[in-house]
């Protein structure tokens, strides 16, 4: 009996039309099944360990991927609290995609509870998504036929997606964070255990209660030159002004092109944020950098 290699155990999503597709360009996935136990220890127990009893069960799935082309769709799904029908299964070694309904295959409903998109300079951008199960898991022997996707071999280099920041919460931001090195957008859907006495079975039922998001970016500190005129963007002094003002500013994350990669193309998402933390790093014989942590303020908009 051969061991199963990681590329042949994949997460698939089953859509409205019954399409069963792998999450594209995944690099790893983790499936966690949890048994929650209650406190049952009494003085009547003999020995050191009490007998644990599983009172409820939950599950979650995490997928890492190099496909960020669906960032808009994912941001919409998490914002609209869409439930996904997920399954994990062994897939054919011929295409690494076609589900084979192995005995360990399981299917269940889950919320997209956490998504992080990382756009770093000269690096393939990454997506990390976490789903939280909200239903019983079933072993389906008649999974919908897998719709294979065409391997795209397309990658989004991080320098082509940039953060634009405004100076206040009114005007559309027109300039990028200058000399930026990294950009991360993290969205989280807070879920609450909503299992009641009415709930049949022992799987935990989750309900969404709130959404939060944050953006972080790092950039080089420029010296003795006008960052604005040189590379057309906001430098450390602009971020310090935002910090001093303590008021929300507009942000946009957009595809960019052109000179210095600063010409705004299609807008991926936008909103308002508060600058919650600004860290300036200055180590010997190393480029000085600053890191800005921006907390989402109000609801973000997906698309233009």
């Amino acid at each position: 009996m051969a061991t199963l290699k990681g590329q042949n155990l994949r997460i698939l999503t089953i859509g409205d039309q019954g399409a069963n597709q792998v999450i594209a360009m995944a690099t790893s996935c983790t499936i966690t099944l949890t048994g929650n136990t209650d406190e049952a220890q009494t003085k009547d127990d003999v020995g050191m360990a009490s007998k644990p009893e599983v009172i409820s069960k939950g599950w979650s799935v995490q997928v890492e991927s190099l496909d960020v082309t669906d960032v808009g769709a994912m941001l919409t799904a998490i914002k609209s609290m869409t439930k996904f029908l997920l399954c994990w299964d062994e897939v054919s070694t011929t295409d690494n995609q076609t589900a084979e309904t192995n005995t360990f295959s399981r299917t269940g409903e889950a919320y997209l509870a956490d998504a992080t998109f990382q756009f770093d300079n000269r690096t393939n951008s990454t997506k990390s998504v976490q789903f939280q199960g909200t239903s019983a898991l079933t072993h389906d022997t008649d999974l919908p036929a897998t719709t294979t996707i065409t391997p795209s071999n397309t990658y989004t280099k991080g320098q082509f997606v940039r953060l634009f920041l405004g100076s206040d919460n009114t005007a559309t931001p027109a300039t990028v964070v200058a000399a930026a090195l990294s950009l991360s957008l993290h969205v989280s859907l807070q879920l609450e255990d909503s299992t009641t006495k009415d709930t049949t079975g022992d799987y935990v039922v989750q309900e969404p209660v709130s959404l939060s998001y944050d953006i972080s970016t790092s950039a080089l500190v420029r010296s003795g030159e006008s960052v604005g005129s040189l590379v057309g963007g906001k430098g450390l002094s602009d971020l310090e002004t935002i910090y001093e003002n303590s008021t929300p500013v507009k942000w946009q994350i957009a595809n960019v092109s052109g000179t210095n990669n600063r010409t705004k193309g299609s807008v991926i998402a936008s909103g308002s944020c508060i600058l919650s933390q600004l860290t300036i790093n200055a180590a010997v014989k190393t480029n000085a950098t600053f890191e800005a942590q921006l907390n989402g303020y109000g609801e973000y908009t997906v698309g233009a």
Partner: protein, 75 residues
């Protein structure tokens, strides 16, 4: 004269119609173009009444072409 009006090729117009039709029919589509500018022009051609989101533009390792996923946002 607008930028779009200078594109007189029927094939270009036909391609534009096809991707807009697919977007409306399936709720999502992937735009493909040889250059960044062509891709952004395709996005500009999506009817204004469509609410849509875009992903991050991806570049092919093999032929250098660009692609962009577009999803309609349901009301």
């Amino acid at each position: 004269m607008s930028k779009k009006a200078t594109q007189t090729s029927e094939s270009v117009e036909g391609t534009q119609l096809a991707f807009i039709e697919e977007l409306i029919k399936n709720g999502s589509t992937v735009l493909n173009a040889q250059t960044y500018e062509e891709l952004t022009e395709m996005v500009d051609d999506i009817p204004a009444e469509c609410r849509y989101s875009v992903g991050a533009i991806a570049k092919s390792k093999e032929d250098g072409s660009y692609s962009l996923r577009v999803d309609l946002i349901k009301p």
